[in-house]
């Protein structure tokens, strides 16, 4: 071994994966292909009834689902696909039909919820609210809620369950009789399913109906093969290490792009104001924290909401350009590539109103997406502006500390993420250590939201722009 790698061994060498020998260049495409091949092998040739795939944000989960579906169909297997929302089902159907226009696809839907008209452009997609009309299609897709109504039908040989970590155990119970074997794909770091009524009486039971479907599945079938996608294609090199460390401490992943490959630049120079300074910081480093003076505020903190709107306005005004690779041509940063994420719906509504007042179209076709973490799950943007869930709060409740909420908000962007927050969140966290009761028999979930929040805050502190509006 030459001395060069040894000299670099202490510092984290760019381009090396954790655990690989220093100097070995990490080839994201090769690693991802290796993982995908193993997953497809388990699914097509394995003996286990289930295969679980953990996928970090933007690791090509949908691509994997489409690929697995095509290969299963090519092998002559009948296949059903279960997703959680109508939008997810429509999106998968669209991708599947685009990838393979010859494949006969069936889109099963509720009588009151017709599929997206976008699917009309595919002749290979048959749409119906009755499963009997679609039984002959090679692949049939529907939401878990719709599948639950399907009864008395010969089971499918194979199923793919998408977003399985967001599916509740009782929803899986309703549909599991419809298939013999299944591939479960999902992101363990995102928001857990929840129930509006108490479900503590079943906590610790392997089939707790309010738990995630994957937790129940693995509790009853501990030997199932589990795979992991190792590369996030969405998150830039500036974000993947933080998100991996803070939210996936035991299952690290890497960015598919190297440092400096993803860039954000502005055509107009900053005016020196807070929003412009934080945008410059975010363009430079991938992260920016716009810190407003400490204060306890109502949920729809008017100052913070205006600050979020101002950042978005400047983002558009300054002619942002995004570079996706080392030699890629720049693409203009348009409104539809920007998202604003909040914790609560009323905050999202307040941001929309503030944006409208600044003349920025929000939550309309081609406009800026403004929504809660729950509804931004699974989506991807170039730049995100996040109103920190704990900003201005006098207390830190389990809802606001939930790991998945922060993880969703911090992992939607391809280029940069700007967080708007009141000062004092670190102190708030220290005053509110997590105090959830420990339930017997429940696997403790890592990382704890409290710890993840601190990890993200510590990182953001290095990109802080203090501003008094």
């Amino acid at each position: 071994m030459t001395s060069l790698p040894e000299a670099r061994a202490g510092a984290e060498a760019p381009g090396t994966a954790p655990g690989t020998r220093p100097g070995t260049v990490f080839d994201p495409a090769a690693e991802a292909a290796k993982a995908t091949a193993a997953i497809l092998d388990s699914t097509l040739h394995g003996t286990a009834r289930g295969v679980v795939v953990d996928s970090p944000p933007g690791a090509g989960k949908s691509t994997l689902v489409v690929r697995a579906a095509r290969e299963l169909a090519a092998a002559g297997e009948s296949l059903m696909i279960v997703a959680q929302t109508n939008a997810q089902v429509d999106d998968l159907a669209d991708r599947l039909a685009t990838a393979d226009p010859e494949l006969p696809v069936g889109r099963l839907h509720g009588a009151d919820s017709p599929p997206d008209p976008l699917l009309d452009r595919h002749e290979s997609i048959a749409k119906s609210s009755s499963v009997a009309e679609l039984r002959g299609r090679a692949v049939v897709l529907a939401t878990a809620a719709k599948w639950a109504y399907v009864k008395d039908i010969e089971p499918w040989r194979h199923a793919i369950v998408d977003e399985a970590y967001q599916m509740r155990s009782d929803a899986l119970l309703q549909v599991a009789g419809l298939f013999e074997r299944a591939l479960f794909v999902g992101d363990p770091g995102q928001l857990d399913p929840f129930s509006v009524v108490g479900a503590d009486q079943w906590a610790g039971l392997s089939y707790d109906p309010s738990a995630s479907a994957v937790v129940t599945l693995l509790a009853h079938n501990p030997g199932l093969p589990q795979h992991r996608l190792p590369v996030s294609w969405r998150l830039p090199a500036s974000a993947a290490p933080l998100v991996s460390r803070a939210f996936y401490p035991y299952t690290p992943f890497r960015s598919g792009t190297g440092p400096g490959e993803r860039r954000l630049a502005f055509g107009v120079r900053g005016d020196g104001g807070g929003p412009d300074r934080v945008l410059d910081e975010a363009a430079e480093s991938g992260w920016g924290l716009l810190e407003l003076p400490a204060r306890h505020t109502p949920r729809t903190d008017p100052e913070a909401v205006r600050a979020v709107a101002a950042v978005v306005r400047r983002l558009l005004d300054r002619g942002g350009l995004t570079y996706s690779g080392a030699d890629a041509r720049p693409a203009p940063l348009t409104a539809d590539r920007i998202a604003v994420g909040t914790a609560h719906r009323d905050q999202a509504a307040a941001v929309r109103a503030a944006l409208a007042a600044l003349g920025v179209p929000a939550s309309v076709a081609g406009g800026v997406a403004v929504d809660t973490a729950n509804r931004l799950q699974g989506r991807e943007f170039d730049v995100t502006v996040v109103l920190h869930p704990l900003s201005g709060r006098p207390d830190a409740t389990a809802f606001h500390l939930e790991t998945g909420r922060l993880c969703v908000l911090a992992s939607r962007h391809r280029h940069a993420c700007v967080v708007v927050c009141r000062a004092g969140v670190a102190d708030l966290l220290d005053e509110h250590p997590s105090s959830e009761p420990v339930q017997l028999g429940v696997t403790v979930k890592f990382p704890d939201g409290w710890e993840a929040n601190h990890a993200v805050l510590a990182h953001l502190a290095e990109h802080r722009v203090a501003w008094r509006p």
Partner: protein
Amino acid sequence: MSVLQALARAEAVAGGRAVPGATVLHRRLSARPLVLAVLTTAGEAGAPLGALVGTERDAPRLLVVPQPLDRDLRFAFFAELAGIMLPLLDAYGERTETEPATRNREESQLCSDALQIVVPNAATVEYVRLIGRSTRFLRTSDDPDAAYPVPAPLPLLGRWLTHYAERARTPGSSLLLAMTDLLARHWTTGQSTLEDQHLGALLGWIDPPPGTDGAAAAARAETGRTPDGLLVSPPAGPATDPRFDNRLLAPALARFDAARKAGSGVARAQAELRRLVESQLRPVWDDVWHGLDLLRALPEGAHVEERWKRDRWSFTGHHDRVKAGEPPQPRRDDAIAAAQKLAGRETAQARLSAQEALDDPLAMASRRLSGEAFSGVVRGVEEAFSEGRRPMPRPLVTVKTDDLPQAEPGARAFRAVPEARSAQPAELVSVDRDPEPGAGRDRNPDDGGADRSDAADGSGSTGASGGRSAAGRLVTVRLTGGMGNGRVPKEGSVPVPGDLVTFTFFEHEPRGGPSLPDPEATPWTHGGPPGAAAAVPEAPDPVTAEDHL
């Protein structure tokens, strides 16, 4: 906490007494509820010390366990409780009415009323569950193999208590009610929800004695002591006041034990214990009835009767299962039962939220504030028709409102129509700012108090406030049903300009989801049918060093 509740708490603090949290009664209060106040023994799980129980305010039955650690005495207590409750349960179970057949159900017999149990607080509901769990599997003298047989009615009492405690988990049910929950639902105090668990303090805020205010009355209930050191308002159970335990109860128990050993003076020692236990329970008993008085002053909500009927179904179902000789409820739910219960409770919760809002303008106000509903005056109605071979009326109704609906165009909306069987469906078309704001300029509720000081800063962009402080909005919805089958809408089915209307974005009669598989068809993901995996019995806990401390 909702905005409205935060405001109500602030108002309660400012005004020195609780403010109404509801305009109607949202739970059924039976004309003859069974009130049950229980005390337990410190340090011994599930060992009752005594109870006051009965349906007559002036004639409670006092049950006391003179030595709580003596299991014979404990079972005698349960047997006495069973002797009071089981005849009542039977009497309700026998009075039935005929329920006509529906599409999914044959004609069946439904109990015309059910026994309602009212306990002081949520902790007592848990205690009822614990008693149910500890007695429903006991083996009785009917069982020749029982090593330690208990009196025959005990397991039956346990099954009923288990049923009541389980039903209490269903949102909106009224079979087993905790007085603190009832009062906290109908009044908002100036203390925290945790402090509202104290029945005496809660009543202090709602109905402070003359000459004092809510905060003072609550403080007295929590900490005030008589000259002999006992709490003025003893804990509402099941826990007791430690000072009572140490100073009075422990010596009295010692005297009882000594008397039993000596074989003389047992009756006197027992009478003393009864007097002591009653001294702690009587104030609680009176508080519960005081709470009932306060609640009965409220008119009953319109949908309460319907929810009570579901409670009667639940009561009837359990009564029938007991009569049919079915075994007691299992120790744990299986996968299907758990999923079924959770789904049922989620539906019940959605139904309860919707019905409370429809019954009570205060509850609706809370939903309007969160953007789930809006009220206003109809500004205009535009005739429109659906496309298709047979055009149906789909009128556009524009409502002027000061609410801020939070829904996307296309969202389903519902309107309660008087005398119609179900809600009228509609579809949100648009939400616009009112170009000519009228006189009644209201600030928007979601602005929050910080708005004024922000404006004073002067640096915020002025345009940003435009979206928030505008006086009113024009919301347009398209009515999509409830107008009959003709080309002309049924009379009275379409509002006219000037009408006050409320549209909600939540359904008024949420229905349950699809049925679950049978337990025998439990899928492999959930461990297969129950019993299949039980080939390996549960391993007992290993003995550790701590077991021999």
